[in-house]
Structures are given as C-alpha cells and as structure tokens.
Amino acid sequence: MEPVTQTAWPATDRRRFLARAGLGTAALAAAVALPGRAGAQTAGGEEQTPPEQLLAFAESLELAVADAQTAIAGQLSASVADQLRAFAAHHQAHAAGLAKAAGPPARGRPNPGLAEVLGDQLSHARTPEDLMALAIDLEDTMAATHLSLAGMIEGRGPLELIATILPVEAEHAVALGLAAGRTGGALFPAGAEGEDHSPFETQRKALDPAAYPTEPTSEGGQP
C-alpha cells in the first residue's frame, strides 16, 4: 500500500536520483505561495524557495504523521501501540526542531492535505495488517521526503537538521517492519525496476511540497 506516493523513480540511476531534486525545486517555486516574502533568484532567474518554507513544509508533515501514528496506535495491540506512540513523539520532536529552524513560516499545524489523505486511508484500513502497512509506509515516505528536501535546501543549518532526522525515520520503518514480520529486502526502500530493493534511501515516495501546501486550499486540502 502506497497511499501518499507521488512518483515512481529509480534511485539507483544516479542522474535521475539527483535530477529529482532539481525538478522538485522548480515545481516548488511555481506552486508554493510565500506570503510576505519573495524568493531569492538564482543566476539563471529561477526562483528558489527559501529553506524556511521547506522546513515549514516538513514540520507540517511531521505533525500529520504524528497524529496518524497515534491514531493507528489506538487500534493495535499494546506492544506495537507503545512503539507507535514513541515514534509519534519523535515526529513531534522533529516538528518542533523544524519549526524552530523555519521561524515564522511554521504553522504549528498538521499538513492539511496529508491529514486528509491519511484520514481517508485510516477509515479504509480493515485489519491490523492494513494499519501496520500504512504506518510503515508513512515512515518510508517521511524518510524519502527528507532526502528529497536535502536536495532542495541550501544552507548548512537546515541540512544538518534534516540529517539528524532522516536516519531515525528510516529506523522507524524497519522497527515497524520487523514487528509486522517483514524480513530481508522488504525492510528497505523499493529499488529500481528489476531490483528487489535499494541499498540507498530513495526519493521514490517523497512528497512534493507543491502537492501538499502548508495552508488549506479552497478545496479543503490538496490543490
């Protein structure tokens, strides 16, 4: 189950692996509104989204995932529920760190579009296996999104913060995968076509900031 995946993208192809970040930046510049602040211009005239906006985007995702993992925990057995609640607390801590780094653009609220998608996914989950799959997918998605952001963000401080968050969210995915009985390559991100899995973290499941703005749209969530 991959409820929030945006793109299929083989990470082992280095050029495509790196090109993804550039494409994301261009799309972001076109789609993310920056109230009260203009983005910087590159030498080529392309607008770059300030890192604060990207950090605020990440903050909003972390809060949405924290809420979702807490909701999932409420429907699973105690041992897994405890683990999920601990991970939800990590996501809250990540959000706090991102909000501090983002400054005023941080909204302190879950991403509205992702919250809507996850609410729908939760309502359709029928079994504990469905719920665990969703929880694992969320962690994989967050790790992928942070990797994608590392390709978009400039500035040592924001990159350092993301670097402390991504490995832990990858660890979350494995811990939940082990609890779900997964083994071997199933504990790692999907690989390129023909590969069982990827030996690197990938951006395959990364969420696009343009598709998940931090403010609700007129349609109530996603644009």
Partner: protein, 209 residues
C-alpha cells in the same frame, strides 16, 4: 537563522550506539579530533573546497570497506546461522554499493578512490574480527554501523558539492536501517530513544586514510 541557534544537533545524541562508537574510536585515539592520519603528523592548512569533498568521500569509502570486511569475515567464519548469514550478506551487499558509489564520486571530484579499509578503525577492532559466535558479529557490526551513520550525518551540510549531501544522506538512511535490524540482535532497541541521529563518535574527515 544561524546554525548555532536553530540546529544544536550535538544535543541530540543517541545514548547506546553513539557511546559504543565513541568508545571504539577512543580506543585508538580517533574520533572528532582525528583530522588526518591519527598516527602521523597533522596539517594546519585548510583544504580547498573540492579537497574537503574528496576527503569526506575517501573517509566514507574507508568506513564502507571496513564494514565489508567485517561482514565478509563473519560469513567466512561460519558462526552465523542461516538467517544470520542472509542478514550479513544483505548488509554486505549494501556496503558494497555504498563503497562503489563513494569511489565513483571521489573520481568525479578529481581524487584518488580509497581501496583499503579505514586503518584507524581496523587497528581499534583488532582481534575482534576473529569471531567465535554470532553475538560478537552483531555487536561489532552495530558499533561500526553507528560510526557510519554518525560520520555521514556529521558530514551533511559541510560538503561543497550539494548533490553529495543527498548521496551521503542516502547511505546514512540505509545504515540507519541496518542499525534498526542489528539492535534487537544484541538486546538493544531498534531506534534511538532521543529521536534524533547523533554525531557522537563520528569519524573526522581524513582519519584513518
């Protein structure tokens, strides 16, 4: 915003793994002060930007080559069961991919790829490669995986070539997954209690080359 006020990542230290990694490095005099050859003279000359990238990549390669050696030795020692062998071979294959990627990036940066395991860490682990049981394998592997995650986490943001941040972080994420697999095998949790990857125990660029 400055990195000092917003991102005090050294506050976010992992307890168990980082301590083990720090101890591993302390055993051989390496660690955060280990710029250059730990047993030879050090230099005070600031490296050029591209030199810095090369040094980080070469150090990362040496770490990956050591992890390859550990997992190869573990499989060859015959102390792992069927599942343990499969796990070691899986993680081995990842480190082979990481090493190849780092070697290729070193070449692109104009440097000479490293072909030997990290010398300082090799000296530190010494006889621990003579595995007698599975627990010894996972314990050493976990310590070294922790060093790798800390080293890559520490390097992200310091590189002059932006795309290298993505490559290093891609490896850090994978090695974080390794840690989550290895933790329960040595009676430790899969995930750092703090919720943040620490940089304690990170290998300073240039150490052990």
């Amino acid at each position: 915003m400055t990195s000092a006020d917003a991102l005090p990542r050294r506050r976010f230290l992992q307890a168990g793994g980082a301590a083990a990694a720090a101890a591993l490095l302390a055993a051989c005099g390496g660690g955060s002060a280990g710029q250059g050859d730990a047993t030879g003279p050090t230099t005070t000359t600031e490296p050029r930007a591209t030199d810095q990238d090369q040094v980080v990549l070469r150090t990362a390669t040496s770490l990956e080559l050591l992890l390859i050696q550990v997992y190869e030795q573990a499989v060859a020692a015959g102390v792992l069961g069927e599942d343990g062998t499969a796990t070691a071979e899986l993680l081995l294959s990842h480190h082979q991919a990481h090493a190849r990627a780092f070697q290729q990036e070193t070449l692109k940066a104009g440097g000479q790829p490293v072909e030997a395991p990290n010398r300082v860490l090799s000296q530190a682990i010494g006889g621990r490669l003579a595995f007698q049981d599975e627990g010894q394998v996972w314990s050493l592997a976990r310590e070294l995986e922790q060093v790798a995650v800390a080293t890559y986490t520490d390097a992200v943001g310091s590189l002059q070539t932006a795309e290298l941040n993505v490559i290093l972080l891609g490896a850090a994420g994978a090695d974080g997954r390794h840690l989550a697999i290895l933790g329960p095998l040595v009676g430790q949790p899969s995930v750092a209690a703090s919720g943040f990857a620490g940089t304690d125990g990170a290998l300073s660029p240039g150490t052990g080359l």
